[in-house]
Symmetry: C2
Subunit: 121 residues, 2 copies
């Protein structure tokens, strides 16, 4: 087919709907808030991390137990635990050679619960 070549790559919507754009921009959160929000959700966006959260939801578990439960290596689990720790979603307590991990917040349960409701439809 024949290519059209004289096209100018510009959009005139900005002039057409300038008011709408400004109105909607005004109701949006700060850019940094949006980034924080996306980063927060990113933590939950991995099935391994999600599994870990559910695993320790019932009772605190050590790394070795979590690895056995999920059928993964201790290393892989530990890497993900670090991410969950840095996000303040879990806390840990050393007992002898073991490190027991616990959910740090009921807030987390709420969000996951809401999402579960949305999924089941």
């Amino acid at each position: 087919m024949i290519k059209h070549e004289s096209t100018v790559p510009s959009c005139e919507c900005e002039e057409l709907h300038a008011e709408l754009i400004e109105k909607n921009r005004a109701t949006m959160p700060d850019e940094s808030t949006i980034y924080d929000l996306a980063d927060f959700f990113k933590i939950f966006g991995d099935s391994t991390r999600m599994s870990i959260l559910f695993a320790i939801d019932g009772a605190p578990m050590c790394v070795c137990d979590i690895a056995a439960l999920l059928g993964m290596t201790k290393s892989a689990v530990s890497h993900q635990l670090k991410i969950l720790r840095q996000s303040d979603l879990i806390t840990y307590k050393k007992v002898g050679k073991n490190v027991f991990y616990t959910l740090s917040d009921d807030h987390v349960r709420d969000i996951i619960e809401k999402a579960l409701e949305h999924i089941k439809e």
Copy 2:
């Protein structure tokens, strides 16, 4: 007395805390549910998609407007809109040359709201 065999690189936690593992495993959701949940959160785990959701939260917008508001190309926005569409988070309506996108669900607002509360602490 039987002497210890040569060292085997295995973890003995499974034997030590077998009961705990089985108890916690019992309270976990299906594997497929966890995957669905992670996939759901993955959608929100990108600042561009999050920005789009906030942008059209106030009022429906066309692709060109969204692109102008976010300072992105129409192509990049369109790609993300496709993902949001496939997840049933947004709906669209064609009006002449334009395509207006809208949030499809109040459920989505709830989840984002909960997460915002968690962030602001």
